[in-house]
Subunit: 473 residues, 2 copies
């Protein structure tokens, strides 16, 4: 595991000096520069080459490089690769984007997946906490119903029916600590029932694929076109004419209302086709409705779950509508899955005070008020993005529906990596589309950026947009 | 799966009418009584016989029976078994023990494992929440360090060093949503490293054994005597003279400071022996320090982890010191495990506001104040229990150290089941020791009650103690 490192004489211990590979790699590299083992001006291997040599994900290397550029140990220039800085002395981490940026991050942040945390409704949340604490029965503080508090399950069932068309009663709602927690539980239950393959969309989050694979399932990518993702067995013939792994899947994971990251919506004929597949084969659909409250051009498409609650698990969270740090999520389960998920330990992970606070937040109308305000804020940002690109980067096309917290910016072929690098040089953290691609996806690779326009606080948004425009071709 | 039910003509669908077997069974039985398919006066099979016929845990049946006795559908008389009540009409659930008892519970509750929830410091917790919300940086509300918030890890490292002698820095603390969450993560990591057996004490919680077994490990009971549990390979010869399963274990799970439920303490020579075992074999010790703050006769024994932080994982929670509903726990990990636990998804389950609130609670001294008050309350209860038994049930002996939230009451041989039944008749929920016994434990069975004297609120404690004295032989 050491070829390129031998070149630099870097003593790379990925044994834990901190959590995870990224930190271990960052620490090892920083130490090598600090002690002079990597001399000023040294050209580092490309992130792709180094990742291949170390047998780790390319994103891990790219993130470590970006951290060290931000810290001043390395420099990245478009066209000339990443080098050890000429005067590699430690400097304070960049803090331009706000008073509370964590060290080692770039000053402008358009990484998708996080709402504007500065607009979290602290006062309203505290008020709801006070009410929850004052009215909670003592028994709520004990080990309780593994599905979660009845107050929250009742509030969620009503809210999801009203806003997303979900069909459920509170008995089939299970509170979890976010989508990842719910996905893990479902993958474990599917595995214990004999499932071996979960079909997924060709683009998605690698952390979700990792969770599924740790539970003993493999993920298999489905075909995708303008109508959205095809169900197992129903896409066009695969390029080699062979059977796809996904055709044997027992379950599929979909974002019907707004595909992440591609930004499309699952069209009505495909919605029907995937439910048909589930009924015909006894398959299960996991509906990840991560940003269903945010649509700007029309009423959002209702939950797929409404088509057949016996075959669709609906999953949602407060991570985009409020804040990921709350660790609050929920599942609406078909009756046939409820016992297994609960027996697997489902729902026991979430503190009751947070649950009761969210219930109070929902029933008091504070949740609706916050979502309305956030929807307006993000819609304006998206409009500003589209407008700025039309005038300043006419070669870049915004694709996907007007929804959610991110936009996909299609780039001229072959330019994605250089644009991401140019962005880092502008102090701008963002992700290319390629990092979300399933390793075995059959769709042709696309060059694009996935821009999380909700991520910066209001005061930093204009600067981030400006940096983005400067980085684009 | 239906023999005894056929006798009664009960149509038993354990398919999910609610979460878990217990509820399904309770509902099915209640429905059978309500509709008259189980006639008044019918003698039900013993919980042991029914459990064997259904292939489910005996405790599940016993719990369902107890719920239905409490609801008035069944009656339980000492010596005459459980019968359908003569006038089986629904009556409101018993509520004598407080205004917030959940339906279907017995009025007096001495089930171990829960602190006095009525004494949860709501005002102080709200104050800490307000401070946490006011001072949290925006980035805290995002996806953060998978180990948990640095404020909490720092506060825990200092607290655990001061109070429990744990040796750590904040970098090796991982926040989790309780002991079960931590145990699951550790079991998954151990399994992925090739471990196949976790040695456990001969008495413990079946839910913990279930968690370990779901992760693909088997549990194997260790020998136990007056000095405490022996490490793998070091106990007296097994009765058959054969090798024990536990001798092949890669890890052991122990309660060194206060064995649950037996109530003993791991003596110094055994503490040394188990650490020696770990160093010699590369084994791992999981130290479950669930009630380490509560000792009444002297300073508590410090954490075993202090003997060798490279071989001991220390696990603690706020479930006994504050409330289980908070879902707040922590692990202190050897460096060699940190990366694996984090990569397994460790630490991502706990809401940041709860974490910051606990950090504030610890650093402000509110945690110490609450623990001191709780310690005094529980100590007085334990003293009252010992005194009452000495005068009113001289055949019953209180065993174990003066510590924690529960006491073990040794009963005359052969009487445990009838005493638990008599207790239910007195409206008293409690557990016999046998339900905690590992199915393959080699120690001779003991007749005893495990009395959770911390469980009732103050106003209900005297009534619960009185009911206990009436139920004892």
């Amino acid at each position: 595991m050491a070829k390129p490192w031998a070149t630099f004489g870097v003593d790379l211990h990925l044994a834990p000096t901190g959590p995870g590979l990224r930190r271990g790699l960052t620490d090892a590299l920083r130490e090598a520069v600090r002690t002079g083992r990597l001399a000023p001006g040294t050209l580092l291997p490309s992130s792709r080459a180094l990742a291949a040599d170390l047998g780790i994900a390319r994103n891990t290397v790219a993130d470590a490089y970006a951290d060290l550029v931000a810290e001043g140990w390395l420099t990245a220039r478009q066209g000339s690769g990443t080098r050890v800085a000429d005067h590699a002395v430690p400097r304070p981490p960049a803090r331009a984007a706000g008073p509370h940026r964590s060290p080692g991050r770039l000053p402008h942040d358009l990484i998708p997946g996080t709402p504007d945390l500065a607009s979290f409704p602290r006062a309203a949340w505290l008020k709801a906490t006070r009410r929850a604490l004052n009215s909670a029965p003592n028994e709520a503080l004990g080990y309780g119903d593994p599905r979660g508090r009845p107050e929250l399950r009742t509030a969620l069932a009503a809210y999801l029916a009203r806003v997303r068309g979900v069909r459920t009663d509170p008995e089939r709602v299970v509170v979890c600590s976010g989508f990842a927690d719910g996905l893990r539980l479902l993958a474990e239950v599917l595995h214990s029932r004999g499932a071996r393959t979960l079909a997924v969309e060709p683009y998605g989050l690698d952390v979700h694929r990792d969770i599924v694979e740790r539970a003993g399932l493999r993920t298999a990518p489905l075909p995708y076109d303008d109508l959205g993702t095809s169900p197992p067995g129903a896409g066009p013939a695969s390029p080699g004419g062979t059977t796809r792994d996904a055709d044997d899947a027992h379950a599929v994971l979909l974002n019907p209302a707004h595909q992440f990251p591609l930004g499309g919506v699952l069209r009505p004929e495909r919605r029907a086709a995937v439910v048909d597949w589930a009924r015909r084969t006894g398959g299960l659909i996991l509906e990840d409705d991560y940003d269903g409250e945010f649509r700007y051009d029309r009423q959002p498409v209702g939950a797929l779950q409404d088509l057949d609650p016996d075959y669709v698990v609906y999953l949602g969270t407060a991570s985009k509508s409020l804040a990921p740090g709350l660790r609050l999520g929920w599942m609406v389960l078909p009756p046939s899955l409820l016992t297994d998920v609960v027996d697997q330990g489902g729902g026991r992970s979430v503190g009751v005070l947070e649950q009761l606070t969210l219930a109070e937040f929902l029933t008091s109308g504070a949740y609706d008020r916050h979502v309305r305000a956030a929807r307006l804020r993000y819609r304006r940002r998206r409009d500003a993005l589209v407008e700025a690109l039309a005038s300043r980067a006419p070669d870049v096309r915004v694709t996907g529906i007007a929804a959610g917290l991110h936009a996909v910016l299609r780039l001229p072929p072959g330019t994605e990596e250089s644009v991401v690098r140019a962005a880092a040089w502008q102090g701008l953290a963002l992700h290319g589309l390629s990092r979300f691609r399933h390793p075995r996806a059959e769709v042709p690779p696309l060059d694009a950026l996935v821009v999380g326009y909700a991520t910066p606080p209001d005061h930093a948004w204009t600067g981030a947009l400006e940096a983005l425009c400067r980085a684009l071709p």
